[in-house]
C-alpha cells in the first residue's frame, strides 16, 4: 500500500471512530458551532467533535505545525477532505479567521504575527469578523473612510463599519482602514489591520432588516488604539490583501453552504395549497412560472456539479465560478416572488396567530431574499465582473462617453 493510501485508511478509521453519528449530514440553521472565546455547544457530541478535531490539529490540517496546524501535505489534505465528505462530517466549527484571514496571514504576515494570530485560530479560541463595508463604501469598497492615524507605537482608529456579520459576537476583526489621504488613487491609501473587538472605544450594534432581527452589525470606532504590530502587510498596501481575502470569501461561503440545509420550500406543494386550480390565464401562467422556476433551479444545480467536475479535471472554471453567486441569489428571489404571488394575502403576515408558522416563515424568507442580491457583491457588481474579467469587454472611459 502506498503511503497516501495508508494515510487514507488511517484517516477513515479515525473519522469513523471519532466523528459522532449525530454530526454526519447537513445541519439546520443554528446547528453549526462557531469557534471563539465564547464558543457554545448545542450538544455533547458537538463538544466532543470540536475537541477531538482540535486536539488532532485538524482545524487547520494543511497549515504548518509551527503555528498549530496539522502539517499535512496538499495530497494528504485532499484525502482528508474526501474522507470528511464521504462520511458527510459537519465542520467541527465555523471560523472566518481560518477560512479567510488565515491564508492571507500565511502569505503576507510576519513570523511574529503568524505565531501570535494563527495559533489561537488553530485552537478555535478566537472568533473573527470582517470589517470591510462602510456606509459610503459598499459596492465601491475602495471608498472607505475609517481612519488609522499614526501615534508612535500605535494607530488611533476612528470611523464605522457596516454589514459586519456577527460583529457583536466576535473577538477580533480584520479591518480595512485609511492610512493615507494624499494618494491620487483611493485604492492606494488603504491598510489591513487586525483589532481586538473587546478594546476600549469599539461598539457593535445589531441591525434590524426589513425581515426583522439579523446577524449583521454596525461597528463604531471611537479613538480605538491598535498596536503597530497589528498592521498586516505593508502600510498603504492593504488593497491587494483585501482582494485576496475576497477570493477566499467565495470558497469559504461555498464550504458554509455545503453543510447548511437549504431553506427548502416545496414550490409545487405550496402552490397546491394556495393556488386555485383553475384554467384562467393567470393561474396557468403562475403554474408555468412555477415549473420554469424548478427547471431553472435544476439547471443551476447541474452547473454546480459541472463546475466541480471541470475543476477536478484541471480545466479553467473562472467563467462558471463568476456566475454562481449571481444566479443563485437571483433565483432565490424569483422563487420567493412566485410564492408570494401565489399565496396572495396569506404571504403578508408579520406575526401573531392569524398566519401559520409556515406562512410567516415564507414572508420572512421572501423579505430576506432581497439581501441576497445585495450582500457579498451586488448583482450589478457581479455583472460588472463577468463583463470585464470573463468577457473581456473594455472599461468605460473616465468621465463617461462624449
Amino acid at each position: 500500500m502506498s503511503t497516501i493510501e495508508e494515510f487514507r485508511a488511517e484517516t477513515r478509521a479515525w473519522l469513523e471512530a471519532n466523528c459522532p453519528e449525530s454530526l454526519r449530514g447537513a445541519a439546520a440553521a443554528g446547528e453549526l458551532v462557531w469557534g471563539g472565546s465564547k464558543v457554545e455547544f448545542g450538544s455533547e457530541d458537538q463538544r466532543l467533535w470540536f475537541e477531538r478535531m482540535r486536539d488532532k490539529n485538524w482545524f487547520c490540517p494543511d497549515w504548518p505545525e509551527a503555528y498549530g496546524g496539522g502539517g499535512l501535505t496538499p495530497e494528504q489534505d485532499a484525502v482528508l477532505q474526501q474522507e470528511l465528505k464521504r462520511l458527510k462530517c459537519r465542520p467541527p466549527q465555523i471560523n472566518l479567521g481560518i477560512w479567510m484571514l488565515g491564508p492571507v496571514l500565511l502569505e503576507f504576515g510576519t513570523e511574529e504575527q503568524k505565531k501570535r494570530l494563527l495559533t489561537p485560530m488553530t485552537r478555535g479560541e478566537v472568533r473573527w469578523c470582517q470589517g470591510f463595508s462602510e456606509p459610503n463604501a459598499g459596492s465601491d469598497l475602495a471608498n472607505i473612510r475609517t481612519s488609522a492615524v499614526d501615534a508612535g507605537d500605535h494607530f488611533v482608529v476612528n470611523g464605522s463599519k457596516i454589514w459586519t456579520s456577527y460583529g457583536d459576537k466576535s473577538d477580533w476583526m480584520y479591518c480595512l482602514v485609511r492610512t493615507d489621504n494624499s494618494s491620487a488613487k483611493k485604492q492606494e491609501g488603504i491598510s489591513l489591520v487586525v483589532l481586538d473587538m473587546h478594546a476600549e472605544g469599539v461598539e457593535a450594534r445589531p441591525i434590524d432588516l426589513i425581515s426583522g432581527k439579523s446577524t449583521f452589525c454596525e461597528v463604531f470606532f471611537d479613538n480605538v488604539k491598535v498596536p503597530k504590530e497589528n498592521l498586516i502587510g505593508p502600510l498603504n498596501g492593504g488593497w491587494t490583501l483585501a482582494k485576496r481575502l475576497l477570493q477566499h470569501e467565495r470558497s469559504a461561503m461555498s464550504k458554509f453552504g455545503e453543510f447548511s440545509l437549504p431553506t427548502h420550500f416545496d414550490l409545487m406543494s405550496i402552490l397546491g395549497d394556495y393556488l386555485p386550480q383553475s384554467e384562467s390565464p393567470s393561474d396557468i401562467a403562475l403554474r408555468a412560472r412555477a415549473r420554469a422556476c424548478a427547471m431553472d433551479e435544476h439547471a443551476y444545480n447541474l452547473t454546480v456539479q459541472r463546475m466541480g467536475q471541470q475543476a477536478r479535471a484541471g480545466q479553467d472554471v473562472s467563467g462558471i465560478a463568476a456566475i454562481m453567486k449571481l444566479v443563485h441569489s437571483e433565483q432565490e428571489k424569483q422563487k420567493f416572488e412566485l410564492l408570494v404571488d401565489a399565496m396572495g394575502y396569506r404571504a403578508l403576515g408579520w406575526d401573531g396567530e392569524e398566519f401559520s408558522e409556515k406562512e410567516q416563515a415564507i414572508s420572512k424568507a421572501w423579505l430576506l431574499s432581497y439581501t441576497q442580491t445585495i450582500a457579498g457583491g451586488s448583482s450589478e457588481v457581479q455583472l460588472n465582473v463577468i463583463a470585464k474579467r470573463v468577457l473581456d469587454l473594455p472599461d468605460a472611459p473616465k468621465g463617461g462617453a462624449k
Binding site: R291, D296, L302, L326, L383, A387, L391, L393, P397
Partner: protein
C-alpha cells in the same frame, strides 16, 4: 453523472471543429442558399462525414456501430452548429437510425442500417402535422387491408425529406391516445406527394401528402399500435442533438457579438464599454453556461439509460431553447443596423437558431412535457 466531455470526446470535438471550419464554413451555406440548392446539404461533405465514422457513432457494435454514445454525437452536433454546417446526420442517423435500432426487425436493420451509416441511402422521419411539434396528436391514419396498410394524411416539417430514399412515417392505427405505429415508406411509393417547404434557414424541409398509399406488412416497424415508445426515444435523442447544435450556434454567435462590442466605436468609444450593454452581455454568458450544463446532463443521461433521461432532455431543450432565443435576439440588436442586413452572417445564425428552437418541441412544449413527466412519475 459526468457533465464534461472525456478525453476521447474532446478529441472528437476538436476534429469536428476543424473539419466543419474548413469544409463547411458559413459561406458554404450562404452559397448553397444563393444558388437555390434543392437538397440543402453537400453530398460530398456527407460522404466525408460517413468516412470519418461519425454516422456509426451512436449504434451498438452488434449493428456495425462504434458505440461511442450521444455525448460523442453532441460533440459533432455542436461543432456543426458553430459553422451552420448542413448534413442529414439528424434525420437519417439520429432519428431514423434510432427508430430502426430500437424497433426494427433484423431484416429491416440489415436492409437499412449499414446503408444509412455508409451514406449510400438516406431516410427521413415524418412526425409533425400541425403548426407545432405534437407527437401526441398524430392524425395521419394507417388502416389495415388485404395487402398490408393504407396511409392517408399529411406530414409537415419533414427534415431532409427531399431526395430521401424513403421516410419513416408515424401513423395512427387505433383510437387509444398512444396507438401509434411506424412504417417505412420507400421513395417512389404511389400516392405520395412531396413538396418543398422553403424555410428561413434554407435547409431541406418537406411536406408529405399521403393519398391511399399502400404499404407492405414487412414495412411495419415493431408491433402494431406500439410505436409510440420507440418514437419517443428516437425523438429524445434527436432533441438532445438539436440542443447541442443550438448550443454550438449560440456560443459562436455570442463570440461574434462580443468581438463586435469590443471593436464597434460610437460616441468615440467601443460600445462594449457601455454598462447597459455589458450587463446584457453578462446575462447572455450566464444563460449559455446554465444551458450547457443542462445539455451535458441530457447527453449523459441518454448514454447511461437513465430513468430521468426524458426529463433531462426536456430540461435541456427548454433551457437551451430559451437561451437561444435570448442570445440570438440580443446578437441582432447589439449589431444595430448591420445586424438586420443579409450581408452579415448574424442573420443566418438567427434564422437557423429559430428553426432549431421550434424543431421537435420549442421551450413551451418542453416546459409542459417536463410538468407532465413529473406528474406521471
Amino acid at each position: 453523472m459526468s457533465l464534461i466531455y472525456n478525453e476521447e470526446q474532446r478529441m472528437l470535438l476538436d476534429t469536428a471543429q476543424e473539419f466543419f471550419a474548413e469544409r463547411s464554413p458559413v459561406s458554404a451555406l450562404r452559397a448553397m442558399r444563393d444558388r437555390g440548392d434543392e437538397l440543402g446539404f453537400e453530398p460530398d461533405l456527407w460522404q466525408e462525414m460517413t468516412e470519418l465514422g461519425w454516422t456509426a457513432i451512436p449504434f451498438p457494435e452488434s449493428l456495425g456501430g462504434l458505440e461511442f454514445g450521444y455525448a460523442g454525437m453532441g460533440a459533432v452536433f455542436e461543432s456543426a452548429g458553430r459553422h451552420l454546417s448542413a448534413s442529414p446526420l439528424l434525420s437519417s442517423i439520429v432519428l431514423c437510425g434510432s427508430v430502426l435500432e430500437l424497433g426494427g426487425s433484423e431484416a429491416q436493420q440489415e436492409n437499412w442500417l449499414s446503408e444509412l451509416m455508409s451514406g449510400s441511402k438516406r431516410l427521413a422521419l415524418a412526425v409533425d402535422e400541425g403548426a407545432r411539434h405534437n407527437p401526441e396528436q398524430i392524425a395521419l391514419s394507417a388502416s389495415r387491408n388485404d395487402s398490408g396498410f393504407e396511409l392517408n394524411g399529411n406530414k409537415v416539417m419533414v427534415v431532409d425529406g427531399l431526395g430521401a430514399d424513403g421516410w419513416i412515417v408515424a401513423a395512427r392505427t387505433g383510437d387509444a391516445a398512444n396507438a401509434i405505429s411506424l412504417f417505412i415508406v420507400p421513395a417512389g411509393a404511389e400516392g405520395v406527394t412531396l413538396t418543398r417547404q422553403n424555410l428561413i434557414d434554407s435547409r431541406n424541409t418537406a411536406r408529405l401528402a399521403f393519398n391511399q398509399v399502400q404499404v407492405a406488412p414487412d414495412d411495419l416497424i415493431g408491433e402494431l399500435d406500439r410505436g409510440a415508445e420507440v418514437l419517443n426515444r428516437a425523438l429524445d435523442r434527436g432533441r438532445a442533438c438539436i440542443a447541442a447544435e443550438l448550443q454550438g450556434a449560440c456560443e459562436e454567435l455570442f463570440k461574434i457579438t462580443l468581438d463586435y462590442l469590443r471593436t464597434r466605436v460610437q460616441f468615440d468609444v467601443p460600445i462594449g464599454s457601455f454598462q447597459a450593454l455589458q450587463h446584457r452581455a453578462a446575462w447572455m454568458h450566464v444563460d449559455i453556461e446554465l444551458a450547457r450544463s443542462s445539455l451535458m446532463a441530457a447527453l449523459e443521461a441518454l448514454d447511461a439509460g437513465d430513468a430521468q433521461a426524458s426529463q433531462l432532455v426536456s430540461l435541456a431543450k427548454w433551457k437551451v431553447g430559451q437561451m437561444a432565443d435570448k442570445v440570438s435576439g440580443e446578437a441582432v440588436q447589439m449589431h444595430g443596423g448591420i445586424g438586420v442586413t443579409d450581408e452579415l452572417d448574424v442573420g443566418l445564425y438567427f434564422k437557423r437558431i429559430r428553426v432549431l428552437q421550434a424543431l421537435l418541441g420549442d421551450a413551451d412544449y418542453h416546459l409542459d412535457r417536463s410538468a407532465s413527466l413529473l406528474e406521471s412519475a
